[in-house]
């Protein structure tokens, strides 16, 4: 974001140094900050649309093979994946989404510390999610050979097409996990901006967009969880 150090006319009257969010001026090609914020949000939503479509590839592959092999799918899902882990991770992600909302609320109320605290909780949840995913799912699976497709070497398959179930599990959760990782970075970036005072009641566009991104990661998990772990 543009770091603006100049003070505008209003600020002089107050006689104090303005926080960056108060002194924010929109990009040179914008007519006003409102248009810029709206455009940024629209752009973000378009990007989120592409994310949904990206993941729809996994869902489509899932649907096709589930249609062909429903029993095998059910057995594999029950056998390889523990719903408890999935449930825990779902709750954690929901909580993190909630804290992002609270962070935005804090920005609206100009409570800088609360922005930081809420984002920190979000990031901890994201880390928890990844640690559980890798430590309790990926590593044991690699050790047992429950690997995708041609790498599948597990000794006791539940059906003929376990390896494809696991392929879809691996590629979709890994792609999702990658998004969580990216989320951790962008949330950290938002924390850095928040710490420097870039978010306030009149300007918190990038915080809002980071939040939108994080929610979409959550929504994708909301679908992945029942499809992979439950049905």
């Amino acid at each position: 974001m543009t770091s603006v150090t100049t003070t505008n006319g209003d600020a002089g009257a107050n006689g104090r140094e303005l926080e960056p969010h108060e002194a924010y001026v929109p990009g040179a090609h914008w007519r006003n900050a409102h248009d810029e914020a709206e455009a940024a949000k629209l752009g973000m939503w378009l990007f989120l649309g592409t994310e949904i479509l990206l993941f729809s590839g996994f869902f489509c592959a899932y649907a096709v093979f589930r249609m062909w092999y429903p029993e095998n799918w059910h057995d594999a899902s029950r056998y390889y994946l523990s719903w408890k882990i999935g449930f825990a991770n779902t709750c954690v992600l929901l909580l993190s989404s909630y804290t992002v909302v609270l962070a935005i609320r804090a920005a609206q109320q100009n409570k800088k510390n609360w922005i930081l605290i809420h984002l920190l909780i979000t990031n901890l949840c994201a880390l928890f999610f990844l640690v559980v995913k890798i430590g309790w799912e990926y590593i044991p699976k690699i050790q047992k050979g429950e690997l995708p497709g041609g790498l599948f070497t597990y000794y006791n398959p539940q059906g003929e097409f376990d390896h494809i179930f696991l392929s879809i599990y691996w590629i979709s959760t890994a792609t999702h996990g990658f998004h969580v990782l990216v989320g951790i970075f962008v949330i950290s970036w938002a924390m850095w901006l928040a710490a420097k005072g870039h978010y306030g009641p009149k300007h918190y566009t990038s915080l809002e967009n980071v939040g939108l991104y994080w929610h979409i990661v959550d929504i994708i998990w909301i679908f992945l969880f029942p499809l992979l772990y439950l049905v």
Binding site: R31, N32, A33, H34, E36, A37, L42, W45, L48, G49, I52, L53, S56, F59, C60, A63, M67, W68, Y69, P70, E71, F87, T90, L94, L95, S97, Y98, V101, L102, R105, Q108, G145, G149, G150, L151, T153, Y155, N156, P157, Q158, G159, E160, F161, H163, K202, H203, Y204, T205, E208, G211, H215, D218, I219, I222, F223, F225, P226, L227, L230, V231
Partner: protein, 203 residues
């Protein structure tokens, strides 16, 4: 046919670029804490609900037992997931409070997703209807794929493993090396039932 110079007054109500808003600042709506908390609680409840319903395999009503197959399960899970996603999108993501354009974007996206998945499934489900063949499976002697080093190898260990998946047919730890097609030599047509033709016939 009275002609006038075109006066560009057609301003879309949703997309107004009126200068009146210029001083309103970027954001009008403040996030209501109570609503958001309720949404969060409902989301947690729905998550628990979806786990609970997925573990019901039969319903006992009086003396009759209704078995719940995979299809009702997936419908139930998807309905709950859609409700959850809608809640997140509408409240957490502010769609409810935003300009409708963002909702249009989401709608278009979902339309695309449904077309993609729906029509693809429609084709693959209808595939067998005319091309049904009561024949032996295709010999996959020639089927190849790449191993981890990028070399072509014949029918993979996994297909073999899947083929011999009876509980007593354990393949030991050495199975991972089994990609070279060595155990392929003895295969005959008739013994080869792993070709995935059966989905074309059965579904």
């Amino acid at each position: 046919m009275n002609h006038e110079i075109h006066h560009p007054t057609t301003i879309d109500p949703d997309e107004t670029l009126s200068l009146d808003e210029a001083h309103e600042g970027g954001h009008e709506h403040h996030t209501p804490l109570g609503t958001m908390t309720w949404v969060f609680v409902i989301l947690l409840f729905l998550t628990a609900l979806t786990v609970w319903t997925s573990n019901i395999h039969e319903i006992v009503i009086g003396h009759s037992v209704i078995e719940i197959g995979p299809t009702p399960h997936i419908i139930m899970a998807m309905v709950i997931a859609v409700i959850k996603a809608t809640l997140v999108a509408a409240y957490f993501m502010h769609l409810k409070y935003d300009k409708p354009m963002n909702t249009v974007v989401v709608g278009a996206t979902m339309f695309g997703v449904l077309l993609f998945i729906g029509l693809t499934l429609a084709d693959l489900a209808a595939r067998g209807s005319i091309d049904r063949q009561e024949l032996a499976p295709i010999v996959v002697g020639g089927n190849k794929h790449l191993d981890a080093d990028g070399n072509r190898v014949d029918g993979a260990g996994v297909t073999q493993a899947a083929r011999e998946n009876s509980p007593d047919a354990h393949h030991g730890e050495d199975h991972g090396d089994d990609h070279s097609g060595d155990d392929h030599s003895g295969d005959d047509h008739s013994g080869d039932d792993h070709a995935s033709d059966d989905h074309a016939d059965d579904h």
